[in-house]
Amino acid sequence: MSQLNRLTEGGLIDRSKPLKFTFDGKRFDGFQGDTLASALIANGVSLFGRSFKYHRPRGVLTAGSEEPNALVELRSGNRLEPNMRATTVELFDGLIATSQNRWPSLNFDVMSINSLLAPILTAGFYYKTFMWPASFWEKVYEPAIRRAAGLGKPPEGFDPDHYEKAFAHCDVLVIGAGPAGISAALAAGRAGARVILCDENPLLGGRLLSDMQHINDMPALEWVRGATIELENLPNVKIFRRMTVFGLYDHGVYGAVERVSDHLDTPPPFQPRQRSYRIIAKRAILGSGAIERPMVFGDNDRPGIMLGSAIRTYVNQFAALPGRRAVVVSSSNDGLRTAEALKNNGAEIAAVIDSRNGDVIQRAFGGKRVQAIQVRDKNGGIRMIECDLVSVSNGWNPSLHLTCHLGSRPVWEESKNAFIPGKLPQGLAVAGAAQGNFTLQEALDDGLRAGNEAAELVGFSPINFAVPSAEPDKYEHKPVWRIKTSKGKCFVDFQHDVTDLDIELANREGFKSVEHMKRYTTLGMATDQGKTANVAGLAILGEVSNRSISEVGTTIFRPPYTPVTLGAFAGHHTHNEFRPTRLTPSHQWANERGAVFMETGLWMRAQYFPQYPGENWLEAMIREVKVTREAVGVCDVSTLGKIDLQGEDAATFLDRIYTGTFSTLPTGRVRYGLMLREDGFVFDDGTTARMGENHFLMTTTTAGASKVMAHLEFCHQVLWPELNVAFTSVTEQWAQYSIAGPNARHVLEKLVDPEIDISNDAFPYMACKSISICGGIKARLFRISFSGELAYEIGVPNRYGDALIRALMKVGKEFGIIPYGLEALSTMRIEKGHVAGGELNGQTTPLDLGLIKMVSQKKDCIGKKMSERPAFLEPDRPVLVGFKPKNRTTKLTGGAHFLNIGAKPSLDDDQGHVTSTAYSPSLNSWIGLGLLKNGKNRMGDTIRSVDFMRKTDELVEICDPIFLDPNGERLRG
């Protein structure tokens, strides 16, 4: 009962390994070596799915990755994969597959009612509908369209498998292991070149697996076997099976994906499911073969109508008979061979229709399976022929997709009735059917020649050996683009349900260019990229618009050749590994203390240190700010960029980079530095310390570190190579902590070695010094303050970073030390009106930020000229102000906009926006910094701060941005 269409002998399946699988809940038997399609065909199944738009019953058309119809959902749960082509799914024991796009079942699909709506659902119908009433769009049309659209469904949970990425290098990449590819690999491999040979199938051989041909007077498969053994034994050749080269990119780079474990129930331990490759090849040979063309006639989409080459594959490779009574229709001589293959394996041939002599197939009849076809002979006589299988062969399209990926257009070759590759990308050669040389002998010749040429071009000497010989053959073909007398729907693009009438409609409505026709009808835009549809489509377009095929031209292709799962592009970089994580020297210690972390770019920084479980960020921040300002706090500031500058011209260099003057900075002092972009906007800020005559240490913001480094390199290498200066990034060399608060000095005195004097006189505000601590450990001390308190930053070589934070906490205990995180750091700097990220947004100038005094008028620097543009001097330009809510308890929201009282919310009335907000424990109120038009003249004014997304509209009072200790007394104590 099972496998009623399985041939009792022959094929390349392994009958010693029977398999069980499930399709739409029904259990079936198959063998190792089957695809899902071949096994279902062997079991007599012909209905595989429902079409995209009309929900028509569909069966298998092809035997390869060009399959447009038989798309299934494979596996279940979190491994579910939609839109899998049954023709390429390798069968494994326990495989589960489900048909798509039908409800409630494949056999009875309610949506097939769409067929009745066909006259309305023509190409581009959605441009002319769903517009009225306007309110229906969001509530009615869009949800309905979403439910009806698409084919398969994605899985809901996380993929349990992992994926990998890798690079591979070779001299010669051979794409496709059919006769052309194998020949090329043999030639290049024997010559000694590093060769990678790959094929999308698990078996090498290409068409040789399906057509019973002979090479060197032996069965072609024996030749394949011998070649494979030889190639596998060559140390300079690597063979990848189940690998699709999906893209051709610039400079000899190829994208490929290897389906490492798709053919297994689960991946073996530590093996990825799939692995994507970037292959860098000096030369490549495309031996990707060709794809057969179907015919366009009435109801040509009935299950049981298949490509002749596919039928030969099912019969010869898989020992599966797709039908018992066949009509063979062909417009080429090779298509007629299907009759022989079927007859030799027990099928009855009801008729052979050779379209070259004028007989055509006009219409197919049958619902879930073809039952009869209607033929019209050259004299107009009509007859019906009963059948359950129709073989169609209408010539071949070279698989030249990769040749187009860099924009090259294929060329119509009249003598072959096919598009062949146009100007080839650098480094690529094409061999065999992929360039329109359709016979076996041509494939072998082309491959050998291409392999030898490639080997020679990379510096190897080809070995002379005889070309293998195949039986004499000629390709004779006269295409039939469509049968005009057909009634019923004549499908051109099966996957998108595009018919010949759609193409006529496109032409009538003015979409005459092949590019417009494609987008208007969606022909060629499905997951199969129109592999079995494009050429017929443009031929029909030519016919209805009175143009030749070469006048119409063809659309081209983009990668990927076949769909690639996103996991294969992500590889290892998913979830927490999506980006690398940068950890501070105190990270482990902070973790032990229960710190809550936040991401600052790639860094993980402590946001706050809850003192008891459940202390939220606001409570923790308030506590951390209070204790720091009343006693002492310590914060890890290692993430700020640090750049070591040395050289005779280091000072000059700094003068040109910063708005301020650093050549006048005495050794042992630190100065605030403001850096502009050349267009005059503030780029970054930091402090720079002079450690010696020709030795400076620059700091940058955390986010700006690498940008500033690149900027310095640009300025030195491009603008001023004559300057004698060298810079090195030392961000990672030093662990750096900020110790702030009235007790800061007391804490430090416990650590610095006895001979170091850090009294206020010896080490005043803005001093810097190389010191030693804890018995000789070298360190650097800087008296700078972001918080506005008496503060120091101490740097130690990073190996001591962990030990230092622990030591600080230990010796600081008697002074009430606590750690503080980013929240507290941020609040304190806002209280002091220091600009940071929100203000340094790339759209503010020194004048805007109240920092014009930092800009020396005595020298040029990067950005100085453009910072003086007339527009930047306009009086109503938004400038930095502070503000407080009129009502103390009101919370302020960042990003809110300023509006005058009574003004309508509009861009014209926009007065500026809020850049930073914080709850200030020092003032017991929310405070903020913002950019306000004409802000300097509006001190004391009351305006509104509005945020329509968060629905806030508060009255605020404008004030000086420095909320605390405006004279900086705490700093200098």
Partner: protein
């Protein structure tokens, strides 16, 4: 201050857990350990002082400074040309202080000398599948026929800026990354080596 001692920690000390990762049934294809005792110093030559620098290095260390990303080695120290006019001096024999002192003495005025001994996490890899594991992120050709033991490589792999070089005999590869990214590099290396069996040692 009362006997407060600061104990150093290597970049991976908090994160590296020794043991066998991945496939266990065969001999490990990759062995991995962290380099914990080394000196790494950056030398950038000042303008017009290359000749003097070259001579001074030779006099002090017996090594000729090479160009074009080449490595010159002696038993105790090597100099790796990582950029035009810039070398990384690497030593497992000299202490950091010793190395800095020798360099300051020899070339103090001729080049900028910057200690980077704390700035990098360095992982040493060995085993028959090291190149296969690295090829999962490194876009440079690591085939025996072209992967040179005489050159140092700075590149981008697994979203990290790395510097790597081979031992003279080609049996070991050292991979250096910014210290703070050490754990990310370690995770990626172990993941890449798992299919071959990865032995992580202290």
């Amino acid at each position: 201050m009362d006997n407060l001692i600061l104990n150093p920690k290597s970049p991976l000390e908090p994160y590296l857990v020794p043991g066998r990762y991945g496939v266990e049934s065969t001999e490990a294809g990759v062995s991995l350990k962290e380099k914990r005792d080394f000196g790494l110093v950056s030398l950038t030559v000042f303008k017009d002082h290359y000749e003097d620098l070259s001579n001074s290095i030779f006099n002090e260390f017996g090594i000729k400074l090479l160009l074009n990303s080449e490595i010159s080695r002696s038993e105790k120290i090597c100099f790796m040309n990582i950029a035009p006019g810039q070398w990384l001096a690497y030593s497992e024999a000299f202490s950091v202080l010793d190395m800095i002192a020798k360099l300051e003495y020899a070339v103090g005025k001729l080049a900028s000398i910057v200690d980077l001994s704390d700035a990098r996490a360095i992982i040493e890899l060995s085993g028959s599948n090291v190149h296969d594991a690295l090829a999962k992120g490194v876009s440079i050709d690591l085939d025996e026929s072209t992967f040179s033991t005489k050159h140092v490589f700075c590149t981008f792999a697994a979203q990290l800026s790395i510097t790597f070089w081979q031992s003279d005999d080609g049996l070991r590869v050292n991979v250096a990354v910014f210290r703070a990214f050490g754990d990310s590099l370690l995770k990626w290396l172990i993941a890449s080596a798992s299919e071959f069996g990865c032995d992580v040692k202290i």
